[in-house]
Symmetry: C2
Subunit: 301 residues, 2 copies
């Protein structure tokens, strides 16, 4: 099944467009994983990370359609961390979760091919489990995005191209020029994705637009009518549900909304201490997010 | 010693601004490494890659000041490939080579911190050997570049920010607006680097400008008078030495010029088959590059 149909089927199965970002920081793991991770070197931390993520994904899988591992925090643990990332992807996919690899890669053609191979096509002789989709940085232009498009086509995978990011300073370059660069990139996303629209009417080529920028969402939706949107920055970064409605259609399709720290760090939340154990606190934080998103994606069963 | 002084000392010691890109493709390794790499799975390929790079770096170290490992081709081999990348960095630095990690990372603040930690600061509890410098994608803006600047400052490391890349389609977004986006990024590079200028008069914050774009070099040099420039695309991508002169000052400082495939694949070159073994062919290709660069960096001893 092609990527958008797979994504919407998962969203409808779970009844929410909530996506959880997996941004692992060993010092913030719940116990007993934190104690197993800290002061044991990278190999020890990576082993604890692997076990924590398996347990975390088991909690998340019944509740949300998708997860977004952030490659940076795995790479920081070196080769063992890269192994923990592979394990996270494989375990999540085995649980039926849609996996969006958040690696924000972008490079010239021959190098882009290698990144696309790694994250969307199994790498060299199956060295790395393929994700469902990958985040891509467009700064280098269409010819640098082309290998990612080709991999998406060949492997029924998706792309989320950075259009407007969730950080406070995103406008500095993304807002440069007339029309603003981000709008020009958005038009390119629509063009790149035109040949990759499936029977759901949606394209495999999506875009990242910060959930922190609701005022621009209608503009980007109009420029990219068939692009699944990844809306990061919900929760901890200040993004709120109201304002995200323009990203969704009448069926509740059109976007996934990502939160990371507000869910991952739920075990530290003062207001959730009455719940026994980190699993219950994560579950409560996910439920809170699902409830908050219900008004904007209300058509989702 | 701070990054620019370390870089110029290496350039002057070797008498050339030539940098070799390490873009490993197992099927293109010289023998016996190719035979050891192909059909042995990712672990076998990574082991052959590690040994090949140690031998390659031993050939390069007496001749050039710097190497630029391209993370994509290592990652394609999964966790074992990431291990081969760590080995490549460690071996190159042990040989006194300046290592520019070409990973083109860029993400929002907290994630950028993790990437900067991995590649410039040893990662989590020393999980990954620090490179001398890292390539950075500026699309997300100043606040996303800030953690890389902080790591450069704290660890005497360098950055090469993508300003104008070497691919044919670079102008699509990098040329957007008035002034073109790349010039606006260049002005930002100069501003980011102003606080990181060392006793050589150069900044730790450099920029990538394609060697394929000599006509724009004077403009970028004027916008970034203290930024070391990384000029990729020499050789295989068509960049030629004439036209690169504006990047260099009267001392022959100011830039490093990168070639990858034209040197790495020298063992296949028809005109070098009279030389015995891949080492001699790589050496000849390096010498050719050094000779070609002599006119533009003629002050270099």
């Amino acid at each position: 099944m092609s990527f958008p149909s797979r994504l919407w089927a998962a969203v409808e199965r779970k009844g929410t467009p909530a996506m959880i970002g997996v941004d692992p920081r060993p010092a913030k793991f719940p116990e007993p994983f934190r104690a197993r991770a800290v002061g044991r070197g990278a190999a020890g931390a990576a082993a604890a990370m692997r076990d924590y993520h398996r347990a975390l994904l088991d909690v998340l899988a019944p509740r949300v359609p998708a997860v977004k591992p952030n490659a940076a925090f795995f790479e920081e643990l070196g080769p063992d961390g890269f192994g923990a990332l592979a394990d996270c992807v494989a375990h999540a996919r085995a649980l039926g979760l849609i996996v969006v690899m958040d690696a924000k890669r972008g490079d010239i053609g021959s190098t882009a091919e290698a990144y696309a191979s790694t994250f969307l096509a199994g790498g060299y002789e199956g060295a790395f489990p393929a994700a469902d989709a990958l985040t891509v940085n467009p700064y280098l232009g269409s010819d640098a995005v082309a290998p990612f498009l080709e991999a998406a086509r060949a492997h029924d995978a998706g792309l989320f191209v950075l259009v407007k990011t969730s950080n406070p300073g995103a406008d500095e370059f993304q807002g440069h020029g007339t029309p603003p660069l981000a709008q020009r990139v958005a038009a390119a996303v629509a063009q790149w994705g035109a040949a990759l629209v499936d029977s759901s009417g949606w394209s495999s080529v999506g875009a990242v637009v910060g959930a922190t920028r609701p005022e621009e969402l209608a503009v980007f939706r109009a420029l990219m009518p068939r692009a699944p949107l990844l809306l990061p920055g919900f929760g901890f970064q200040g993004g709120e549900a109201r304002g995200l409605a323009p990203a969704f259609d009448a069926l509740g399709r059109g976007a996934v909304v990502n939160a990371s720290r507000s869910v991952l760090w739920a075990h530290e939340r003062a207001d959730l201490q009455h719940l026994p154990g980190w699993e219950a606190r994560v579950d409560a934080a996910v439920q809170e997010m699902v409830d908050a998103l219900r008004p904007v994606a209300r058509a989702v069963r």
